[in-house]
Subunit: 309 residues, 2 copies
């Protein structure tokens, strides 16, 4: 119980998994007993990155309070995105690049957030500040996280700092980021082994927006029609989810990783708010969102504002 | 309106005022148009520090939303401690050393919190990270903040980092910290020009603890009896405040800066919870809290826990 657990959000993506591994490594280097763990299944993209750089998947935990007294959060802070039992443990540190909400502590803590594209970009900076050398395989993980979160630098969340960090890490890891990055993104966009239930939960995050409860799920695809051809079945599943979780809005985003657009499907009693949010008509519950690829920078702020009105 | 305003909490203390001035200075050095402002009257201790190092008091603002679009918070994050209108402006950055609570943004931001004794200790670190020279008078302000928040290194909130920073800043500022520090604390503990209303509001902070609304006010004194001799009148004023603000608890802490103990006065319908919080009987609504000098590290966590039960 003295060990500190390091983890990212539920429905883990590549930044969440690799940042947990990398930050636990950094903590181990400075003498803290820290273990990276995960809150859900590893997706195909992350699996590709872990295999490439020779890492096992972190251990899955169910309820954090039976596992540890102290925890470090990476890549998230909102408690509904975090581990079960999070309110019974002490959060000693947070490294994140998202808005802050639904987060509260009893005691002071280390909190490091920067408005960059990827948690790994901040962790790379911390390695330097502490003068700790970045091994090649750790660099590979951080590079994978940046590629994933910025869609190979195409997302509007991508900052100059992310690009500079990726170029450094590319050298250390000994890979070509364009080649490796596209292969990794394609591995993640391969949805052939996924059920429709999987597509709705793989990268789903819940948000409190004012008084409303919203889930925004996102998948990457090489061809969005592979997913949207099954809209009728998707709507059935989403409608059930809305009832079970008493959601006001379920917003499903299918992102075209080659053209950097998304198709959105909006359901729930606040679905019409999506029209105002993106200034586009939704026909048959769907719309093409030109140039929209980022949940954090494009979808969440637009919906937050529209729902506040 | 393009200017970014930098400010600390309501009922400003020395760390809040000087950190706003110092961080605005740092931002100006890196080319940002930033102005330090304040949300309330300057106390005697802060006045002593500003005069010693040749600074004017920052401009008082009433409602931040009529003054700026973007703001930087120092030394606080909880919205009930912040400026009126805070919800209508964008918080682009926070530098703080408190717990995080009642804080929410729509967008990602810079957030730098560390569990150290004083905001100035973190800002001193940022000057170094950015390679910006600390002028002697700016060093004097940061030193004053550390002395104030750590009660000249006697508070349990004081960390090794605060002491190291103070020793560096002492050199740059060209003062003897023990001598200057005690003079500054005594200037702050001189309550002769204060009304009882002043004592209750000078350094009062409101906290949400679970469902309860709590105000914790603190004053420093050389002789606590100067204050407690007027308990009957204090209780009248506090009882009125409890009614007006619908408080569950008003906790008034008079800290003896020479012996490093405090006398507490607890009123409100949850006043009895203070006995459990500090494991001491309250007689006639008051108790001596041996070794208690820190609201943040000793009073807030103890009351938070007791009120949660």
């Amino acid at each position: 119980m003295t060990k500190v657990l390091v983890f990212g959000h539920q429905n883990p993506d590549t930044d969440t998994i690799t940042s947990a591994i990398v930050y636990a490594h950094l903590k181990n280097q400075i003498g803290m007993e820290a273990e990276a763990v995960r809150l859900g299944d590893i997706n195909n993209e992350t699996k590709f990155a872990l295999e490439k750089f020779g890492f096992d998947s972190p251990r899955l935990i169910e309820n954090v309070s039976t596992e540890a007294k102290k925890v470090i959060l990476v890549d998230h802070n909102e408690k509904q995105q975090s581990a079960e039992g999070i309110e019974e443990v002490q959060i000693t540190e947070v490294i994140d690049h998202h808005r802050i909400a639904n987060f509260e502590t009893a005691d002071p803590l280390y909190y490091r957030a920067e408005p960059v594209g990827c948690t790994a970009t901040i962790i790379n900076k911390i390695y330097k500040e502490k003068g700790i050398e970045v091994p090649a395989n750790i660099a590979g993980l951080m590079l994978s996280a940046i590629v994933s979160d910025t869609l190979l630098f195409k997302s509007p969340t991508c900052t100059e700092e992310d690009i500079v960090a990726a170029r450094e890490l590319e050298q250390i890891a000994g890979v070509n980021v364009e080649e490796y990055g596209l292969a990794m993104l394609k591995a993640g966009a391969d949805l052939s082994d996924k059920s429709l239930e999987d597509l709705l939960t793989l990268d789903a995050k819940e948000f409190g927006m004012g008084e409303s409860k919203v889930i925004i799920a996102q998948v990457n695809a090489v061809d969005v029609n592979d997913v949207m051809d099954r809209q009728v079945e998707l709507e059935e599943l989403i409608t059930r989810e809305i009832q079970e979780k008493e959601l006001d809005l379920f917003f499903f985003v299918v992102t075209d990783i080659l053209n950097n657009d998304s198709v959105a499907l909006a359901l729930g009693k606040l679905a019409l708010k999506a029209e105002a949010a993106f200034n586009v008509p939704f026909v048959n519950n769907t719309a093409l969102l030109k140039g929209v690829v980022s949940r954090k920078k494009q979808v969440v702020p637009a919906l937050t504002e529209a729902l506040a009105e």
